[in-house]
Symmetry: C2
Subunit: 250 residues, 2 copies
């Protein structure tokens, strides 16, 4: 038996999220089908982040076991050949030890949220950005984002269906950058609550639009009440960009 | 009567090029249909660059006349509303004088060509880049590109169906940049021959792959022979990024 770690890029637009569901197109389903087509084996893959419907990835990480120890490059090229008709690609493949796990070995997840701020809707980036027609004050958003960094009870920014045992998480990075017509929000944490990034983004957008103050964001966080959250940002601006692992485990 | 100048962004993937053709989806057809839906008038639009099938634009410029002088913002928003189901968006609209023409007033066209250089095929940028699996030496490409700049007979880099009266053109800019996993080629000229950018890109890629020398490129140019051109780069990596006009005319 050989365990493999794969890094995936995907366009989430056509998938009902990462996690396999009977009769629905999912990223997990596409990859597991490709693995079976390659080597005949039926496998269950584990993922660092179970992204929602419409959410993209440029650095999702998965792991799974194969009976036979194929060369890494063979696995990568074969899976990409079987994924030709899917919006999923294998960026990297590495053979790893049996104790390594894409989800449980992860010590950090990085997300990017792209907001397109212009009057004209996107043509090239349709389904890849959140289109906000009004100007956003990215400096005010950055200042408000700073209020979210650190160890907090993030109940306000947690979906009601979140399965996490505790709403207390440490947000390591919350950065807001202007990139041409876009505002990019970058978040990093050991782990996130369900829809936490989109909930925080929706709230920070209110600050960018001048409707919420920085104090309003701090008050919403302190409220520990889902009702205090601003409207959740849409899924299609969100990207899982990377996963961090302890050096010794990668 | 009022003449308008529009700046367009489009994803060329689903269109048989810019120019209207009966029974085929084209960018021109989509925009003219939207104009008719907006104001009832049947118009013919003029464009700065008649992009090929699969070629994209982030800064195409068109002009046309309307019987009634609508506010600029009304024209832009109405056309974007009618283009909701098309991969075309109006970035800007300006009322211009009757002597202004998107094609004939243009004094410069700017193109970007994106090459993705990695083993894995693109998932997010499928149809938006040329995927080259092997590494490219972008410095060698830049050195070879410099040999193309200036006033030359570009017969080698001209499609056999090119309608231009003369193959002699002045290439003002030919730059090659590394941007992460991508190599970007930027070309600027008053005007280009048919498929000139893709022909030059295909030839410069041979240099990047180490199969052609810089002298080979200079010899191909000097040959003034279409047969001396390397394979033409595919359409879907090409973007018309902007058009320049004399200050007084814009």
């Amino acid at each position: 038996m050989q365990r493999y770690r794969l890094t995936l890029e995907y366009d989430g637009s056509g998938y009902n999220g990462f996690q396999a569901q009977a009769g629905q197109p999912t990223v997990q389903g596409a990859v597991e089908t490709a693995i079976t087509a390659f080597c005949g084996q039926t496998v269950r893959i584990a993922a660092a982040g179970r992204t929602d419907t419409g959410v993209h990835a440029t650095g999702q990480v998965i792991s799974f076991d194969l009976d036979k120890a194929w060369p890494e490059r063979t696995v990568m090229n074969a899976l990409n050949a079987h994924l030709t008709n899917d919006a999923v690609t294998v960026l990297d493949c590495a053979a790893v030890g049996d104790d390594w796990h894409a989800r449980f070995s992860a010590v950090g997840r990085c997300y990017l949220y792209r907001i397109l701020t212009r009057v004209a809707p996107p043509a090239l980036d349709r389904g890849r950005v959140w289109h906000v027609r009004k100007p956003l004050d990215e400096r005010a958003m950055q200042a408000a984002a700073a209020a979210l960094v650190g160890l907090h009870d993030f109940t306000t920014f947690r979906d009601v269906n979140c399965q996490s045992k505790s709403p207390v998480k440490t947000l390591d990075v919350a950065r807001v950058d202007r990139v041409g017509d876009e505002v990019h929000l970058i978040f990093e944490a050991r782990s996130f609550l369900h829809r936490q990034v989109r909930s925080m983004t929706g709230t920070l957008a209110e600050v960018g639009l001048g409707r919420w103050s920085i104090d309003d964001v701090a008050a919403a966080l302190a409220a520990r009440d889902r009702a205090a959250c601003a409207p959740v940002a849409p899924s299609n601006g969100l990207y899982l960009t990377g996963v961090r692992y302890e050096e010794a485990n990668t």
